[in-house]
């Protein structure tokens, strides 16, 4: 049976917000993967993206701004059977949580990070984020952003991520496909989603993106080629690539960390004798 992942909560995103598309694509992806709600745990950052916690009927943990990845990693270690997602914002993950993105990429926990990139701090009503375009005028940058934007895909790739992809909130079938591939991937998958924020980001609109995006798979891009993948992450402006940039297989964090590979740590008995341990202290 396919499950319905909707809740009855009233949705408070602005009309036309890119988050709607991501929300729909995620539900579709869960269905395509034949997942049951109790098999999924999503951990959210704090931002407009995090409101999704109220709209998906799965296990939800809305944690702290920037800290979804470590919390998700801990839960995955405790129970490998859970399909774990970190649903994060660009401000959230690239500002406050930048260090965690680097280290999750390096460690390769088997979970999926969905990065809602609206290139702005939206919930705090429109300051520049680390992903804002150079020159963008925001509430915190009346003279335009000085710095170049942080490139999450290049950062993850350089940090050792084993799955790096990009989707667009305005192309649901393609986004669903990318999310499904990311969730199927054994290891850390980063899916950046271009998410227009029509209320606050006047520059990176649906139209702006639609005129620019194209699909890597249509170009015959080979996601095994790291150098070429890295080159593709640098393309931004006239043309913006979507799809799977890079994928490789590498042992996951849990495979290496857990003493018994297939065991669910959370199901183990707590009883344990320390008699033998005590002998070392005599």
């Amino acid at each position: 049976m396919t499950h319905d992942f909707k809740t009855s909560a009233e949705i408070v995103w602005c009309p036309g917000c890119g988050n709607f598309g991501i929300w729909a694509a995620l539900q579709k992806a869960f269905q395509e993967l034949s997942l049951k709600p109790d098999q999924i745990l999503a951990v959210y950052g704090i931002g407009c993206h995090g409101h999704m916690a109220n709209y998906l009927k799965i296990n939800n943990f809305e944690g702290l701004h920037g800290r979804a990845l470590p919390l998700a990693t801990g839960a995955k270690i405790a129970n490998q059977n859970l399909n774990v997602l970190a649903i994060v914002g660009d401000g959230d993950q690239l500002g406050e949580g930048g260090n965690h993105l680097v280290h999750a990429s390096r460690r390769n926990p088997n979970l999926t990070c969905v990065l809602h990139n609206n290139q702005l701090y939206s919930l705090t009503v429109g300051q520049a984020s680390p992903a804002s375009e150079k020159g963008l005028k925001t509430k915190s940058t009346p003279w335009g952003v000085f710095d170049p934007p942080l490139n999450p895909l290049a950062l993850a790739l350089a940090s050792g991520a084993t799955f790096v992809a990009r989707g667009f909130a305005g192309d649901l079938p393609h986004l669903t496909k990318v999310l499904v591939a990311g969730m199927k991937h054994q290891g850390f998958s980063l899916v950046e989603v271009l998410q227009p924020c029509p209320t606050l980001n006047y520059l990176n609109t649906f139209t702006w993106f639609k005129e620019r995006v194209y699909k890597l798979e249509d170009k015959g891009h080979l996601p095994q080629d790291k150098t070429e993948s890295f080159r593709m992450t640098q393309e931004w402006g006239e043309k913006i690539p979507l799809g799977i940039f890079y994928q490789e297989e590498r042992p996951t964090l849990e495979e290496q960390l857990l003493p018994e590979k297939d065991e669910i740590l959370a199901e183990q008995s707590l009883e344990l004798s320390i008699e033998k341990l005590l002998t070392e202290f005599r």
Binding site: P70, L71, A78, N79, N99, H103, L258, A266, S269, I274
Partner: protein, 575 residues
């Protein structure tokens, strides 16, 4: 009385700590009670390292003033420690690196020069093994059994190659023989002659915490390296595979505490350990644990602050911090064990409190307790009880599961992510009974009150604090945490001098045992407060909770632990 202080001192990198452990094990296995400690700067090589141990036939709870047997591996050790030598003390002097102190500086002191490096090298060993030469000589002087020393060397170096172990034993033997040949006729006032056989344990606070956590069923331990909890990391990392546990080294303390919350959310007993600096980074997630009612045990090993402070020296300056850290009010439990035995039992209780009341529990220790070893007769694991609190098991009614159900005692049935046929919502935002974000006035009040009510419920089963000494004694001492040992030793000294005291040791600081403290005040004519910070943080807490003021404060904030003698002297001054 056979009660003496041993010390070995020299340059960092010369195996002072392992030599100390070998000595301590030898004394323990010879039937003595041992209390030991390490002092070192935040350096890997070149600094001055000290290992000290008090050894006695009766139980000892802390080091005491003076050094009776000193092994001085270099000149600095001679310069630094001759001042503290007791009358008639013995000094094993490394004559290859140091010269004896001027005789007028050390009347009545016995200097035993030994060419430690030469003896090591003659036996085919490198210079660093000179500490074992010295140990061999010390054991001879103390009338100890070389076989026991040998067994201790064996166990301390158990992970080394057999040739290395043998070489260590060989050089110890060379030291033993050298002393036998050259210092045969010396008379020494104390000894390590083999006594009763028992099976006591010699544990640091960190060892005992690790054992307690593991016995409590903790399976996830995350800690970012920081003195004084590093030995916990080493222990967990070493045991993880064998015991089916996880030690997780996070990228920072923020990741550490959030990963532990994730693990706890999915059903594990999880713990983080850090010092004040790391705890500063954890504060936001400390509140997250409070808000989401996620059970978590946090070990905070204090050292002298603020900021980097004295990284390898002790202190008790973080009490106010852990009691108040985090925005707005949330329920928390703060424990402060006084010795390794309490570390073990409170680590287990901590998980029971954390899970039963669904909140963060802080175990506040310090460098001195974390890294000093104390002798404990036994830890009876059959007395351990694990209580996971009120759990929700998935049933047909899972649809109506309310994670934060309002109840009279504040405790809602807990579930964890991954339970079959159940989904639920956990949020750092204020939420309703089902976990959905909710900002309404009535809900907000009900939820704040529900969370705080858990502490009222907990108070009913909180263990009362311990009082040491005759309860009718009019003079009272109050302290918390690791000062316990020095105060109990001070009580012994005062008793010999004809002054009886009683001592209230607080190892449960939040919720605060208001009644027990008020009662102690009522039954004392005079009260002293003893703690290791500059403002008297416990005194402030007592005033805040009971309205009672303590004027006589014995405060120390120089990074060094209390010695019994200094407490006894201060009390004598004001009686």
């Amino acid at each position: 009385m056979n009660d003496f202080n041993f010390k070995i001192a020299g340059e960092a990198g010369y195996g002072i700590a392992s030599a100390g452990l070998i000595f301590a094990k030898t004394a323990l296995r010879s039937g003595y009670s041992v209390f030991d400690f390490n002092e070192y700067p935040s350096l890997i090589r070149g600094g001055h390292n000290v290992y000290g141990a008090r050894v006695a036939e009766e139980e000892v709870y802390s080091p005491s003033f003076g050094t009776d047997l000193l092994i001085a591996l270099n000149q600095k050790a001679v310069e630094r420690h001759t001042k503290e030598l007791s009358p008639g003390a013995w000094v094993i002097l490394n004559s290859d690196k140091a010269t004896a102190p001027a005789p007028d500086f050390s009347p009545g002191i016995n200097i035993l020069p030994i060419p430690l490096i030469k003896l090591a090298q003659e036996n085919g060993a490198p210079e660093v093994m000179m500490n074992n030469v010295a140990l061999g000589a010390a054991i001879f002087l103390l009338g100890g059994d070389f076989k026991i020393l040998e067994s201790a060397v064996h166990d301390v170096f158990s992970s080394a190659k057999p040739e290395i172990i043998d070489l260590n034993i060989k050089v110890a033997r060379a030291g033993f023989d050298f002393a036998q040949k050259n210092f045969k006729k010396r008379k020494i006032l104390f000894n390590l002659k083999k006594k009763r056989a028992g099976k006591p344990l010699l544990l640091t606070g960190n060892d005992a915490l690790c054992l307690g956590l593991i016995k409590a069923g903790c399976k996830f331990f995350a800690a970012y390296p920081m003195t004084p909890i590093n030995s916990m990391i080493a222990y967990w990392a070493a045991k993880a595979r064998e015991l089916n546990l996880v030690y997780y080294q996070p990228e920072d303390e923020i990741a550490g505490i959030n990963s532990a919350l994730g693990a706890a959310h999915a059903g594990l007993r999880a713990c983080v350990a850090t010092s004040g600096g790391g705890f500063s980074l954890m504060v936001e997630a400390y509140g997250l644990a409070g808000m989401t009612e996620t059970p978590l045990v946090i070990i905070e090993g204090q050292r002298s602050g603020p900021s980097s402070g004295l990284p390898t020296w002790t202190g008790q300056g973080d009490l106010r911090f852990v009691l108040g850290a985090g925005q707005d009010d949330f329920p928390r439990v703060v424990l402060a064990p006084g010795d390794p035995e309490e570390c073990f039992w409170q680590a287990i209780e901590a998980f029971n409190w954390a899970e039963k009341y669904q909140l963060p529990v802080v175990i506040l220790v310090d460098k001195y307790l974390s890294e000093s070893r104390q002798t404990i007769s036994s830890l009876d694991e059959t007395r351990v009880k694990i209580d996971r609190g009120l759990l929700f098991s998935s049933t047909a009614q899972s649809e109506d599961y309310r994670r934060y159900r309002l109840t009279e005692n504040g405790i809602s049935p807990r579930a964890w992510a991954g339970q079959a046929d159940l989904t639920f919502f956990t949020s750092s935002y204020e939420h309703d009974e089902s976990g959905w974000a909710e900002e309404g006035i009535e809900n907000r009040k009900a939820m704040m009150e529900k969370r705080m009510r858990k502490l009222e419920t907990l108070k009913e089963e909180m263990p009362p604090p311990s009082i040491y000494g005759p309860s009718e004694a009019p003079l009272g001492l109050i302290s918390w945490g690791s000062n316990k040992g020095a105060i109990r030793e001070a009580q012994k000294i005062l008793r010999v001098q004809g002054t009886e005291t009683k001592f209230l040791h607080l190892n449960f600081l939040n919720p605060f045992p208001v009644e027990a403290v008020a009662d102690f005040f009522r039954r004392s004519s005079k009260i002293w407060l003893v703690e290791q910070n500059i403002t008297g943080q416990l005194a402030e807490l007592i005033r805040a909770r009971t309205g009672l003021e303590i004027e006589n404060r014995i405060l120390k904030y120089d990074g060094r632990p209390f010695l019994p003698e200094e407490i006894a002297v201060k009390i004598k001054e004001i009686t």
